[in-house]
Subunit: 340 residues, 2 copies
């Protein structure tokens, strides 16, 4: 049974994976908006753009020429935030503390077709992207200097994406970034105490309740987590307990592609626009350990709130206090589920 207090009164919800809280203000969803409207570009792009540095056969800024690739194409980021060959140093000067950090950053084109996004691709096409993620994760994991691999996508100009060609990124590095470190700790504590997977147990609970599930197939569940921050934040969780994406069978990679296809198509229908988001996969570190406490998952953080042009601003209170949302996870689930 749904708890109606959660739909009526301000409250905070606990994120079991990070150990942090989100403030929820359901009564505030009807507040009028007089603020900034985002520019919306619903123009159809052409399949090939000669000025695009990601299209097949084109020359990138550093002079390299992209191959005439057929499906997925991966290369090392020309302006990588992490360098693989920088010196090792460490600063421990009283309250000034710093450590060198090395890494490898890659770009992955999802399709040679400039006009597409994941939402326009079918499960089989997306499976090819998944297989490429697996391959990159595997190679990077073998590198002794790489202990974590962050796979992500920024989609849409409003998400800082500087090129509409369908692509994502992979930043890998020697230590765990903040968000991963939090999830590592929470999952490890739970695993040590309960000898079971934190996210797996949560999934069981959600499948019983059926209040926040958007979609499921044999291998994956698409849901809005109880503690979601962004208005239409969604998580894709494998049903089987797996520490990282390498553990997927070939059939599961297709099921995963299917889950991504269903979700992204639903997103596009929500506000009748190519739905912007940042998505990312959180999974076990590549430090050589088993990391059995990890249950990998993919999250989507979309900024839109009410329409293609009105987004949620995570500013002020959110920066200095806690994340805050108006529309509840349960309301957002109903809106999305109706579109699949």
């Amino acid at each position: 049974m749904e708890n109606t207090d959660l739909q009526d009164y301000s409250h905070k919800r606990f994120n079991i994976l990070t150990g942090e809280w989100v403030l929820v203000s359901p009564h505030r969803a009807k507040r009028p908006w007089q603020g900034q409207n985002e520019a919306v570009n619903n123009e159809k792009r052409s399949s090939y753009d000669e000025t695009c540095y990601l299209c097949a056969g084109n020359t990138r800024i550093n002079g390299e020429v992209n191959p005439k690739y057929d499906d997925v194409f991966v290369f090392t980021n020309d302006f990588a935030a992490l360098q693989s060959d920088s010196p090792t140093f460490s600063i421990n000067d009283a309250l000034l503390i710093a450590e060198s950090e090395t890494g490898i950053c890659k770009v992955i084109c999802f399709s040679p077709d400039h006009s597409k996004s994941l939402a326009d691709m079918n499960a089989k096409d997306i499976q090819k992207v998944v297989l490429a993620w697996q391959k990159e994760y595997k190679t990077l994991a073998e590198n002794p200097n790489i202990n974590y691999v962050q796979i992500f996508e920024n989609k849409g100009a409003v998400m800082g994406c500087s090129n509409p060609h369908p692509h994502g990124q992979i930043w890998s590095q020697s230590t765990l970034p903040n968000e991963v470190d939090k999830k590592n700790t929470q999952q490890l504590n739970y695993y040590n105490k309960n000898k079971s997977s934190l996210l797996g147990d949560y999934l069981t609970q959600e499948l019983e309740k059926q209040e926040r599930i958007i979609y499921e197939n044999d291998a994956f569940v698409v849901l809005i987590p109880f503690w979601a921050i962004w208005p239409f934040e969604v998580m894709i969780v494998p049903k089987r307990h797996m520490a990282n994406i390498l553990k997927m069978t070939n059939d599961e990679t297709l099921k995963y592609g299917e889950a991504i296809a269903v979700l992204t198509k639903g997103y596009d229908k929500l506000f009748n626009t190519s739905f912007p988001y940042s998505s990312g996969i959180h999974q076990a570190p590549t430090d050589g350990n088993e990391n059995n406490h990890w249950h990998w998952h993919m999250s989507f953080y979309p900024p839109l709130l009410r329409s293609a042009s009105v987004k949620k601003f995570m500013v002020g209170y959110e920066m200095f206090g806690s994340p805050q949302r108006d529309i509840t996870a349960e309301t957002a689930v109903k809106m999305l589920r109706n579109l699949l």
Copy 2:
């Protein structure tokens, strides 16, 4: 002596106040930008706008009429994210955890003049805002249901501000938000161990080094913290150890106004635009304890990176990993210091 590795190679810096890291990629500052440009509105506003719900004498959405105020005007937010009269409840259903949260949200107009921002006001005018912050903090602190008071400002449309009339907000609540909780823990641990103020000791170190100081007067230092996230993030720190803003003498409130005036005017000169930011004051909880481990401070988080229209996007890697910056704190200090 400046450490040149920090200006040349990717590294991470430790935030002593939150216990988290920021990734710094100085070599990446020259990466070209083909992404979204923000709309810039440098039009001068008039001193009075009859459609503005914050101007003196105007009627707000709920029918209330603003008084003909002369300097500062405070009222309870018409669409508050926190309610003061909602029921108390708590959900502890295995991995679904939630708590009711009550609070009071206020809006504070900094001036009746619709055309102004803090950057257009002098130290004496800003002092009136500071005195109002003190008064609100005091009143809210006396309320037994309020254990923390978050004072903040969202400035500029790009920061989700829905009305250009100079104003800030005060959200107060029964528990500590995430960011405050982190700073509470870090300061308490340090205080217990060293019997001195974490931020006070950091300030001493920075005043010796003189590498990240932008401005100082008798009572305040304006600096870019070693671990700053946003390109031009700045912190205003009182020289005396004070847990909250009530501890300021009358003279110190003027000195504080002066520090804000100098900084915001410098900001406006940087990209020749009314500089957007979210600012906020972190200070001791209002839980009735001494909280002597707290050293209050004000931070400014501005989104702009290279010009009035190119901002830093905290997306993708930043959402899933750690915050990331290109231009170093030390470079940003030099740019800002030259403008004061």
